[in-house]
């Protein structure tokens, strides 16, 4: 009896947190998504009115959602965002996997320090770090300066405001989200398995491919999702580092909200984006739960 009460209390905290900071804002966004824009404060029509008899009339405007299907503009922005997120997550994986593996196999006393170094950039403001990249990548920036001084190039390369800068920025910013879950899985691997592989005649490369990699797949998937999902809606990095043709979904959302002042359409876009992103997480969760069982 006492144990059940205690458990309920412990669970109440995360649940109320979720309700307050996820469900309530989501419901607000959802109601705006079904409204119509209007000139006023706030700039959309209320979802329900009261009749003279005191009953509510609810008006749902579905036009916003229909527009996404009819106008290829939104689909294109969405697909481009998915591509950027997928490429960035893959780059994070390629850079992050060796890092995580190296940390996991480093001597015990070094590991905490190495992990700290991975997390260290978080101690500086995200915006400052992106601004620092502007300083590095711009035409008169450090990178071009160094390349010019070394005589590798004669004219400064345009790096800033290109896809290269965009991928670099996203990969750099989200790398810790890849390294940490990978490290968590890799550090738990039983070294005896690798010894067994060696005893059976497997070369290190084969042992990696047949033992380490398959066993670290949960970490790979978790890291990939942790990078992929926020990268899809990323607004700041493409805005500051990417070229003007980086019309990603975050930018489109901003445009609908600020330039067109169409809060309902922007909200509808946010809702669709969220639902599309929740699906892969739900599948991953369900699979993880099945495997655990």
């Amino acid at each position: 009896m006492k144990g059940r009460l205690g458990r309920a209390l412990v669970l109440a905290l995360p649940w109320s947190w979720m309700a307050l900071f996820f469900v309530v804002p989501f419901v607000i966004v959802l109601t705006i998504a079904f409204a119509e824009p209007s000139e006023g404060l706030p700039p959309y029509t209320p979802l329900w009115r009261w009749t003279e008899e005191g009953g509510p009339i609810i008006q749902l405007n579905l036009a916003n959602f229909r527009l996404f299907l009819e106008d290829p503009f939104y689909l294109e922005a969405g697909l481009r965002s998915l591509r950027v997120a997928a490429v960035s997550a893959t780059l994070c994986l390629l850079v992050g996997y060796p890092m995580a593996l190296a940390i996991a196999r480093a001597p015990e006393r070094w590991r905490t320090l190495l992990l700290m170094l991975v997390i260290l950039p978080f101690w500086t403001s995200f915006l400052l770090r992106i601004t620092a990249w502007i300083g590095i990548l711009q035409d008169q920036g450090w990178l071009n300066g160094a390349l010019l001084a070394l005589g590798v190039i004669q004219e400064p390369l345009q790096l800033l405001y290109t896809d290269i800068a965009l991928y670099l920025g996203v990969t750099y910013c989200y790398l810790p989200f890849m390294v940490l879950p990978l490290y968590a899985t890799l550090s738990k691997l039983d070294p005896a398995l690798l010894e067994a592989a060696e005893d059976l005649g497997a070369r290190p490369s084969r042992a990696f491919l047949q033992v380490t990699l398959p066993l670290s797949m949960p970490g790979v998937v978790a890291g990939f999702l942790l990078v992929f999902i926020p990268a899809v809606g990323e607004f700041v990095i493409p805005e500051l580092l990417g070229g003007p043709d980086a019309q990603l979904v975050g930018r489109v959302l901003w445009m609908e909200f600020f330039q067109n002042r169409d809060w309902p359409l922007a909200s509808a876009l946010a809702v669709v984006l969220l639902l599309l992103l929740v699906a892969p997480i739900a599948i991953f969760q369900a699979r993880a739960a099945r495997e655990a069982a």
Binding site: E39, G40, L41, P244, V252, N260
Partner: protein, 366 residues
């Protein structure tokens, strides 16, 4: 950037310097203004003279301001929207508090003719006090543009919108203001159409014109081009008059052989007005009125114009403005130039979406 830091530092100092800091519960005024749009010493002077503390925030686009104002409860006491389309739209939506004229005796200092001109956005000047105004045109790095395109007209939008010219200037860098609301009317005017036209075929012509120069544009900027132009990073900008003139002044100070010039194109330049207004839910309306009244003094306005190189609406400030600023026709335009200026109005939401779509395609270059 450095200068913005300097402004902020100056303001912080000014807050600390305020005289009766501990005396009575201190009044505060929360100001939300454009970047690079005030003389920071005038803010210090306001604090010294009134004992009211100033919290100063900046924005770099009307969209940012309007988005926050639409959400309400911004906590700001002073905002500085442009008369059209932002101010008029927010005024209609009930976002502003009517000015209490008895608290702003200096409203009488504003040029009645200019007041008349902004009355179309603010009937009877109920909500707004004219702060500064200006035009949008070309900022040119004279020597580099002459060297690359010696036969191109320096006083015409053709310098930017004719692909033959833009192609040659590509090498030294063209930067475009990232604002559909300002660029599209300019292109309409260049094409000989009504700058406020929302006709789909006009918009198509605009898009076609813009697309021909798209490959030659290096960057789109919000938040001004002052440093980039003064530093020689770009040789041509489509930008606010005062920003270009500030860049010119800074290039001259730096003395590194960069000469910047502002051109109000002969085809016509957009004339805009920025108004001081008080949000309907401003927490300190009394302090806000005091701030507006302080700004509208001739000597304060003269200092601001000297600093930001935009003309103000207080004629009595003119003799106090530094001669090189007062006599600069790109700051205070001549009547002949004025006749070619045009103003823009708000367009319906559907038209605005169509414009922003053109703009998105233009930026993407496809």
């Amino acid at each position: 950037m450095m200068r913005r830091v300097a402004v902020m530092a100056a303001l912080l100092v000014s807050i600390c310097l305020s005289p009766n800091a501990q005396a009575q519960p201190q009044q505060v005024v929360n100001v939300f203004n454009w970047n690079d749009y005030i003389d920071p010493y005038m803010v210090q002077r306001f604090v010294r003279e009134t004992g009211i503390r100033v919290r100063y925030d900046i924005y770099d686009s009307l969209e940012t301001l309007e988005g926050r104002m639409s959400a309400g409860r911004t906590g700001y006491d002073i905002v500085v929207p442009t008369s059209e389309p932002t101010f008029s739209r927010l005024a209609r939506a009930g976002a502003f508090r009517p000015l209490d004229r008895s608290l702003i005796p200096n409203l009488a200092n504003i040029d009645p003719a200019l007041q008349q001109q902004v009355a179309s956005a603010d009937p009877e000047n109920r909500f707004g006090a004219l702060y500064l105004y200006g035009t949008i045109g070309l900022g040119i790095n004279v020597d580099r543009v002459r060297a690359l395109a010696p036969d191109a007209p320096m006083d015409s939008l053709r310098l930017l919108l004719d692909p033959a010219n833009a192609r040659r200037l590509r090498a030294c860098g063209i930067v475009m203001m990232d604002s559909a609301a300002d660029v599209i009317p300019m292109v309409l005017r260049y094409l000989g159409k009504d700058p406020n036209s929302t006709a789909p075929e006009d918009l198509r012509d605009v898009e076609r014109t813009l697309m021909t120069i798209r490959p030659f544009i290096r960057a789109f900027s919000s938040g001004g081009v002052i440093e980039a132009l003064a530093g020689g990073q770009f040789c041509m900008a489509f930008a606010y008059s005062g920003d270009v003139i500030q860049a010119a002044a800074r290039a001259e100070e730096a003395n590194r052989g960069v000469t910047i010039q502002y051109v109000a194109p002969k085809e016509g330049a957009q004339l805009w007005f920025d108004l001081l207004a008080i949000p309907a839910d401003a927490p300190n309306p009394e302090a806000a009125h005091a701030f507006i009244n302080f700004l509208l003094q001739p000597d304060v306005m003269a200092n601001i114009t000297n600093h930001v190189r935009y003309p103000n609406g207080v004629p009595a400030s003119r003799p106090l403005v530094a001669a090189e600023v007062a006599n600069d026709p790109s700051v205070f335009p001549t009547d002949e130039m004025r006749a070619r200026f045009f103003t823009i109005g708000a367009v319906p939401q559907a038209a605005e979406r169509a414009r922003n779509r053109v703009w998105a395609r233009f930026k993407a270059g496809r």
